[in-house]
Amino acid sequence: MAFRFGILLGVRSSPTPRQILAAAIIGAVLCGVTIAWAVPQQSGEANKAAARSVQSAARSTPQQSSGINAPSSARTGLNIVVLDPAHGGTDQGARGTEGISESDEILQFAAATKKALEAQGFQVILTREGNDNPSFDDRSARANAQRGAVFITMHIASTGLTGTARVYVEPDAPQPNNITGLIPWDRAQTPFLSLSRKMGELVQQELSKRFKGSPDTLQTAPVRQLRTTAAPAIAVEISSVAVKERTELDRMVPGVAESIARGLSDFRPTYVVPTIPVPGGSVQP
């Protein structure tokens, strides 16, 4: 078969140097045409994302090259938001009128919040996009694997004043006795508590401006999802699935999304990766 194609193209079994040169030129021209055709096809969004990732890389390069003695200021910068639409799969969460299930409805809130955050220049990672149910640890791992990330777990309650939203952070906990500088997985949130509170306060302020009847201050609760997250982390809970009509919840979607995006934009300049005290100094997680 190869021999027949060789005849067809006029190529002999041992090509001359002139034929090799001609083949190389044709190959180079074809490659150039392909690249020139492919590049303009990229969407504007993809270009923006590419630009952001390059900027992000540029920001992170000095600290990476400077190794472990990098100054802490080099590791500042909030770039990534991990959004966690709660429940999913067989776990439907709260169930309300008109067949509303928390696990489905919260996906709408997460998608709108993602858009609002991306408009503010954040990179957003969702812990789930369909009807699956990652474990608590898998969800935390999405944030723990990132540098310069925050984590927001989103819920809809079955109780509470309809049309309100609350922000929760983990209660105070003693710093783990640490000699290694490693964060114990089951107490991963502890070093980030003060940052979580700061972020929570800013998001709660925005939510209470937008949704009358929401508390002015953030709440504390031992939310399981937050405990294993090694990043500033909050839980946002919207009330409630017990609305008279589904549209009442749908109307809250843009407001919740904008409030979270604004809160995080306000939080962004204050974000600094905390240090963990160890004997003889401190280390950053």
């Binding site: 776990d91 609350r166 609760a221 939310v223 399981r224 809970e237």
Partner: protein, 231 residues
């Protein structure tokens, strides 16, 4: 058949029809009642067999502070003073107050715990660590959400704090097992601080001898907690 007999037969049949019409509604009520009884879950049956916190007639009447939900303020607890015959034994006392908490206030909207949930067991270790084992309904019947679950746990903790000072820390189990969360939100893997005097993080550094009187699964859970805290 003579006309006389026909009249008699007709009369008897009419009487039978009237008697049946009167009896059938009562029969239906009895059938419905029997149906409800047979629909009882195994958990409910078990709970009925379990002794509710023993109340001795010799126990003194004590004013206890119960923490139920506040109707006026969303997500808040309100202390309610109730007079109860309470044992001096901390374990029995804790069972009595928790059963009263589960029985709920007069106003159903102020409930913090599901009405069909039950306290299956309660133990206090010598170091002040207590273990409360609730039936599965505390997980399946509670309204889902951070606020409602937090309120449920807080009402248990604050009621114990107000009435059983010997309890310093509480581990909540569901049906004898350690649970990750109450109903998907509030973390149950940790010990809850009950008494503010308790120094968090140091409470299990010098544990008293393990509670050998505890049932095996609960002892296992407590041992696991101790190991986790030491780590």
């Amino acid at each position: 058949m003579s006309p006389k007999w026909t009249v008699w037969l007709g009369g008897v049949l009419l009487a039978a029809v009237i008697a049946a019409a009167l009896y059938f509604p009562a029969l239906r009520r009895q059938v419905n009642k029997a149906k409800v009884l047979t629909e009882k879950t195994a958990e409910q049956a078990r709970r009925e067999l379990l002794p509710i916190a023993p109340v001795s007639t010799g126990d003194p009447m004590v004013k206890v502070k119960m923490f139920w939900g506040s109707r006026g303020q969303e997500g808040e607890l309100l202390p309610v003073i109730v007079e109860l015959p309470l044992s001096r034994d901390p374990g029995l006392r804790a069972k009595q107050v928790l059963n009263t908490l589960l029985a709920g206030p007069v106003d159903a909207e102020s409930r913090t715990l599901p009405p069909d949930a039950a306290l299956l067991a309660f133990y206090i270790l010598p170091d002040g660590t207590a273990v409360a084992d609730f039936s599965d309904e505390i997980r399946t019947s509670i309204p889902s959400g951070i606020q409602s679950e937090q309120l449920a746990v807080e009402s248990i903790l604050r009621t114990l704090e107000a009435n059983v000072p010997q309890v310093l820390r509480l581990k909540i189990l569901i049906h004898g097992q350690e649970a990750d969360t109450l109903a998907g939100h509030v973390d149950l893997t940790q010990l809850f601080r009950v008494n503010a005097k308790d120094a968090a993080g140091t409470q299990l550094d010098n544990p008293s001898p393990p509670g050998s009187l505890l049932p095996a699964p609960i002892r296992k859970a407590v041992d696991k907690m101790r190991r986790a805290t030491k780590r």
